[in-house]
């Protein structure tokens, strides 16, 4: 599993569990990637997108310090490109890498979610 090998991009981070295990803290301390993949939690991911991505991109994703993330704006991006941006950030911009906090499956889910949102 390539994903685990990439978790070291942010040395010194205190929390490197995938989102699912953060939310289930105490239930499963060491989440395996298979476990994470099997237990994608859409509600938790939606919450992450709107509340935490939303701190730069706006609660309704209309943009803020970071750009507009509504589906009509993102349509010309491939899902894979978006997934890569979510996982690794964009150097020299305020977009951070989320790889320390979420799995590849979770990033793929978010990219798909962003592209498929109803036009607002």
């Amino acid at each position: 599993m390539a994903r685990l090998g990439h978790r070291s991009v942010a040395p010194g981070r205190q929390s490197s569990q995938p989102l699912t295990s953060v939310l289930l803290a105490g239930a499963v301390v060491i989440a395996t990637s298979a476990f994470a993949a099997d237990t994608l939690n859409p509600d938790a991911l939606k919450r992450l997108v709107h509340q935490d991505c939303g701190s730069c991109h706006g609660l309704s994703l209309k943009g803020g310090l970071g750009p507009d993330l509504r589906s009509q704006t993102l349509q010309h991006y491939d899902q894979d490109v978006l997934t890569g941006v979510i996982l690794d950030g964009i150097p020299d911009t305020a977009m951070p890498p989320w790889r320390p906090l979420i799995t590849e499956e979770e990033a793929e889910w978010i990219a798909r979610y962003l592209l498929q949102q109803e036009a607002q």
């Binding site: 010194g12 205190q14 935490d52 906090l101």
Partner: protein
């Protein structure tokens, strides 16, 4: 008959209004970000009094108060500027003044309300009575760090171009002074309580940049330009806020960017006097009004925790977890209590700042910013 009843009801209401005037000095508003409402709260009773709805998208919303502590001007993310009467508990006016806004300020005389906008980038200034547009100041950039300064002035900074502008409304038509080279990607700013020093935090480079607003021609003053150099930066999942940069005795304390620490800076010389390692990326580092303690909250995913730092020893003296997603803290004006919004617990929690005992939990819907009316009398708030 119906009219008579309405008339009677109105008379009764007026009578009771005369009998019990509403004192607003210990009231406050809590932003309910998801619902587009504000919760009117009473600091002394530690209670919610009323919910006022219909304010639009309130993610990242903030507000300022009129000098008489009766009206709140609420700045919404969707560009909405809403004037709320906290005595009658109603919205009295609302304009949608831009597509995407980030904050606002009220002039020292209370007559002008300014809003800074991401889209279209710039500042718009409104009459505080009527909310009619007084001035439109396009900047061509996402505009951040808008504060009021003494002398009917507003100061604000551009994320994209790294300029700070001072708009002087003393004579009616605004006179704009532009100060270039403040640094790369300023993300927020504050003004000291005496209105003299404006400091902007930089995301795109190390350090901060200050302006002495008492100078004839203010020049950028670099603060901690070597801060963080040679150290690996950590990802920033939420930009710190600088409103809470606080003066503790002779020092400012402020959140570092990309590092898990707060920085202490001598207020006179603007040189570093210390660092305190913290639990995570600080978002707010707020001094208790007496300056003796600094309370710090953190970015996702460590945003369930608060640390309290003693400003004399610079040591962490208390750490606790109020709950999921601690977004904001507001001290009572003399600092004996602190109100903390815990978004995902749907609660505002009130703590004693001496004993750290929890005194009360107040139900609120996804609460974020908490604003007590005492802010009406503070420059920069």
């Amino acid at each position: 008959m119906k009219q008579l009843i309405l008339g009677l009801a109105a008379t009764l209401m007026m009578t009771s209004a005369h009998a019990e005037p509403t004192a607003t000095g210990d009231l406050g508003l809590v932003i309910e970000r998801a619902k587009g409402s504000v919760l009117l709260v009473d600091q002394s009773d530690r209670a919610a009094l009323a919910r006022i709805e219909g304010l639009g998208d309130l993610s990242h919303a903030s507000l300022v108060y009129s000098p008489d502590e009766r009206f709140a001007y609420v700045f919404g993310r969707d560009g909405g500027l809403t004037k709320v009467d906290i005595v009658t508990r109603q919205i009295v006016n609302r304009v949608v003044q831009a597509g995407n806004a980030i904050g606002g300020a009220i002039s020292d005389d209370g007559q002008l309300v300014a809003v800074s906008n991401y889209e279209p980038g710039g500042v718009r200034v409104f009459d505080s009575n009527t909310l009619e547009l007084v001035a439109d100041i396009p900047t061509g950039s996402k505009t951040i760090g808008l504060v009021d300064a003494p002398g009917r002035r507003f100061v604000f900074t551009m994320w994209d171009s790294g300029e700070t502008w001072i708009a002087d409304f003393a004579t009616g038509t605004p006179e704009i002074t532009k100060i270039p080279d403040m640094g790369k990607n300023p993300y927020d700013a504050l003004i000291t309580a005496n209105g003299r020093t404006y400091i902007t935090g930089l995301f795109g480079e190390d350090g901060l940049t200050a302006l002495d607003l008492w100078a004839e021609a203010p020049e950028p003053i670099r603060v901690l330009p070597d801060y963080g150099r040679g150290q690996e930066e950590m990802p920033v999942y939420k930009m710190p806020h600088l409103e809470g940069w606080a003066l503790t005795g002779r020092e400012f304390v402020l959140p570092a960017v990309g590092h898990h620490e707060v920085l202490w800076i001598d207020a006179d010389t603007l040189t570093e006097t210390g660092r305190t390692q913290t639990h995570g990326q600080p978002v707010f580092a707020m001094a208790r009004p007496d300056g003796r303690q600094v309370w710090v909250n953190f970015a996702h995913p460590l945003n369930d925790t608060i640390q309290v730092i003693d400003s004399v020893t610079k040591d962490i003296i208390h750490e606790f977890k109020p709950g999921p997603a601690v977004l904001h803290m507001e001290f009572t004006p003399r600092g004996h209590e602190v109100w903390i919004s815990v978004r995902d617990a749907n609660k505002v929690m009130v703590y004693d700042t001496q004993t750290f005992e929890k005194l009360r939990e107040i139900e609120a819907d996804s609460p974020s910013g908490i604003f007590f009316t005492a802010r009406a009398h503070r420059t920069g708030l």
